[in-house]
């Protein structure tokens, strides 16, 4: 929407925020040190609204918890927008100067009255009205989100619905106000920045832009493909169709992490060639024809990673890699050289210098500056540029920095693809626990005293109706399969909703039942909304 893929604020800015909407994020557990910054904001008097189907540990710090039904975020956001417009709390000067498409947006959100939103979302109309008023009238306000927004069949539209609210009120492009997607992995931001996206080159240059390609071809000394590649989900579809026959998988464990994982394992197993490069023999690596043992990127290798606030920071080798494990860059270079290219043996520093040549966002970040200044935030176009704490200040410049106005997006409510039925009457949503991480490849390595394994959280009323008790092992089934797991009674969870983490696939192969419907705009699967049934085992 604004032309660059990154959170618009620095963590420091939330210390001064007046209103915080924490929407689809349990940052207290998933981003604990960011939550320290949130707490500084709250201690300084910010009001926080937690929008989440679950009454999370984060929401306990909020002034209000808006417990919406899974997958009704757009209805809620549109109602917030409508209520702001209806009361004249929007920012007409900003809208006129910096945005386009307001009239269409206003017309599109008109059906989303408070009462209608309450009907769809289950959130009381008064709470929606209160949040809308607080957000609109705040001097500085931020919307933070995580996978509760993006892991839906319409995740991109969910994001756009939140961006609309910032455009409506001018809460973007200024110190303290903005839109903050919290990144789930230590270099997911950096991966995108470096062009690990099917349609982008490093620095977000478009693959389809001939001028951009020419810049890269001049440095690379060879043609750059003019067509966007496939994102992960399309790759799996191409594998299933037999069109993609060889895969080189680096630092990813899709045989445990993908939704509807039985399907994933089958297509990986059917490949002509699967190469896996990882630090452990993961389940994906067990399926591979060739495994390259890699060193641990942050403790055994040199390089950089980029955080949720666009801060590029150095990782450094502290210990030697074990056995035959080698730096990812060395393995890749050797593979390229073996195929006849002449890459030599570049270091992380060499590659960084190449990147600086090609990406204006990173041009001012010398290796020495990254060392001396402890990290720099992009854009940092020149060596005397201090880096950019927040993005999109151009929205407030008289000439919009030479850009066009930022468009509102018309998006409409479309609930989860898998509706609840008599056969599968309960909603399952998934998320992280504080002390564990994804498929456990890393976090299984330490003995956490507060770890309890993957259990299905169930509201006590649902459990009573089903005749199941706390700790009982049950069969949990979705249209895709079944897993056996323990039940944990959770009074804070609304009736009809169930929740589990997904950190112990060897014990609970949870992704056998998650929903692999995916957002055509992002390729992200609807991990947050499956329909399930619980059956007693005996």
């Amino acid at each position: 929407m604004f032309g660059a893929g990154g959170g618009t604020c620095s963590y420091q800015e939330i210390h001064e925020a007046d209103v915080i909407l924490l929407w689809g994020s349990n940052a207290r557990e998933a981003h604990p040190i960011f939550f320290h910054h949130v707490m500084k904001g709250l201690d300084n008097g910010a009001r926080m609204y937690a929008v989440d189907p679950r009454r999370t540990s984060s929401s306990r710090f909020a002034d209000a918890w808006l417990g919406l039904d899974v997958g009704t975020d757009i209805a809620l956001a549109n109602a917030v927008g409508r209520h702001i417009i209806a009361n004249g709390w929007h920012n007409p000067a900003f809208i006129e100067h910096s945005t386009s498409g307001f009239a269409q947006y206003a017309a599109a959100v008109e059906p989303y009255t408070l009462d209608e939103a309450e009907r769809i979302t289950g959130v009381p109309a008064s709470a929606i009205a209160d949040m809308a008023e607080a957000y609109a009238k705040a001097d500085k306000a931020q919307i933070l989100w995580t996978l509760g927004i993006t892991e839906h069949h319409n995740g991109v539209n969910n994001v756009l619905a939140l961006c609309n609210l910032a455009l409506l009120t001018g809460h973007v492009g200024r110190w303290g106000s903005g839109l903050v997607p919290l990144r789930g992995q230590n270099n997911v931001q950096g991966g995108g920045d470096m062009g690990a996206l099917p349609n982008k080159l490093p620095g977000f240059a478009d693959v389809v832009d001939p001028e951009a390609r020419a810049r890269f071809e001049a440095v690379y000394g060879r043609p750059v493909p003019a067509e966007p590649g496939l994102h992960l989900t399309l790759m799996f579809e191409a594998m299933a169709r037999g069109e993609l026959r060889a895969v080189y998988c680096i630092g990813e464990n899709p045989a445990d992490s993908e939704a509807d994982v039985a399907h994933t394992r089958k297509v990986l197993g059917d490949l002509d060639l699967l190469i896996v490069q990882d630090i452990f023999l993961t389940r994906t690596a067990e399926l591979a024809d060739v495994v390259f043992p890699a060193s641990v990127a942050w403790a055994e290798s040199e390089g950089t990673v980029t955080s949720s606030e666009r801060r590029v920071q150095r990782v450094r080798a502290a210990v030697p890699a074990p056995g035959e494990a080698r730096h990812d860059i060395d393995i890749l270079a050797d593979v390229a050289n073996a195929m006849g290219a002449d890459w030599g043996r570049p270091t992380a520093h060499d590659l960084w210098e190449e990147l600086r040549q090609l990406s204006p966002l990173h041009r001012g970040m010398t290796w020495d500056r990254l060392d001396a200044e402890g990290g720099l935030q992009w854009p940092c176009p020149s060596e005397d540029h201090p880096g950019s704490p927040f993005l999109h200040g151009w929205l407030w410049e008289p000439d919009l920095g030479g850009r066009g106005p930022s468009p509102f997006s018309v998006v409409h409510h479309a609930g989860p693809t898998e509706e609840l039925t008599a056969e599968f009457p309960l909603r399952l949503t998934t998320g992280r626990a504080l002390d564990s991480y994804n498929t456990g490849v890393q976090s299984d390595g330490f003995a956490s005293p507060i770890r309890s394994g993957d259990a299905l959280d169930v509201n006590p009323a649902d459990a009573a109706r089903l005749g199941i008790t706390d700790g009982e092992r049950v069969l949990v089934s979705s249209p895709r399969g079944s897993v056996e797991m323990a039940v944990r009674l959770q009074p804070d969870l609304p009736a009809g909703l169930t929740f589990t983490t997904f950190h112990f696939p060897d014990e609970v192969d949870l992704n056998l039942i998650t929903n692999d419907t995916w957002d055509p705009l992002s390729g992200t699967a609807e991990f947050k909304a499956a329909a399930i049934r619980i059956d007693r085992i005996n």
Binding site: S307, P320, D435, V441, P449
Partner: protein
């Protein structure tokens, strides 16, 4: 931020510091080393240890430099007989009741002020509490606790906002406790280890360090410390990896890093074990 800097006199020497600075900041700016125990740059001062006191002209009592704001025209003495005597007594009394042999940063101050805890008996009269080893991440040794409150502050509203521990009891019975003195794994503790990181006397100690000390194999003078970035989530917390014999033995974060302010979560603090093959591998 744009406020006028403040000039105060430290031991007769004028020193200019930014508005909002403390007397301790001014002493440091003047090149004067000040002993501190309960002070940390990333915590709110609680003024309990009294070892940083200075003599402030016009003040009846000595003032704690860590919390007293520098005001224009102040004149402080950091090495007067009264200050030296007070610091000596504080260090001596602490040493008479607490095991300080794992707090080597106190040794130079003990020497400077001639503090001799041995005057009160051959061994410190400690709290005499059992060592608490309740999990694989950190231990609690109450005989080393000086009740400086740093752990309470880090667990509470200075950082973590978990409030798993507080000072319970009064006088000689005062202890840092979980609620109802319940075992840590059953308490509200979330094992961020931020209390351990700020403990000045090793009363709170990472289990890796404890085990290595038990094996007489803790050699901090040989440690290399490498700064890198945590491998979990996307916040970008800086880690300092303390390495002995090519193995990570401790993880901290720089207190001046603007992302962490020295604080980490359980994954950043303890989640590194997989680098060496996991929790079951030999740590010593």
């Amino acid at each position: 931020m744009s406020e006028t800097p403040v000039t105060i006199t430290v031991d007769g020497q004028p020193v200019q510091v930014p508005a909002g600075s403390t007397v301790l900041d001014a002493c440091t700016a003047a090149g004067v080393d000040t002993p501190t125990i309960c002070y940390a740059p990333n915590l709110t001062p609680v003024n309990v240890c009294r070892v940083c006191v200075v003599e402030l002209e016009g003040s009846r009592t000595l003032v704690p430099s860590c919390s007293r704001r520098a005001e224009a025209g102040m004149a402080v003495q950091t090495d007067s007989e009264r200050v030296r005597h007070s610091r000596k007594m504080v260090l001596e009394f602490l040493g008479s009741a607490v095991e300080l042999d794992q707090a080597p940063q106190l040794d130079p101050w003990m020497a400077r002020y001639g503090a001799d805890p041995g005057r009160y008996g051959p061994a410190p009269a400690t709290m005499d509490e059992p060592l608490r080893v309740q999990d694989d991440l950190y231990i609690r040794d109450y005989d080393r606790c000086v009740l400086c409150y740093k752990c309470v502050e880090a667990c509470g509203d200075d950082a973590q906002h978990t409030f798993a521990i507080a000072v319970a009891g009064r006088g000689f019975g005062a202890r840092i406790r979980t609620e109802f003195d319940t075992a840590l794994p059953e308490s509200a503790c979330v094992y961020c280890g931020n209390c351990v990181a700020v403990c000045p006397t090793n009363a709170l100690q990472f289990k890796t360090e404890f085990d290595l000390r038990q094996a007489a194999n803790w050699r901090p003078e040989e440690h290399s410390v490498t700064r890198t970035v945590c491998s979990y989530c996307g916040v970008g917390c800086n880690l300092e990896l303390h390495v002995q014999d090519e193995r990570i033995v401790k993880v901290t974060s720089p207190s001046d890093h603007e992302v962490t302010n020295g604080h980490l979560c359980i994954k950043g603090r303890f989640g590194w074990a997989y680098v060496h093959g996991g929790a079951d591998s030999d740590q010593t």
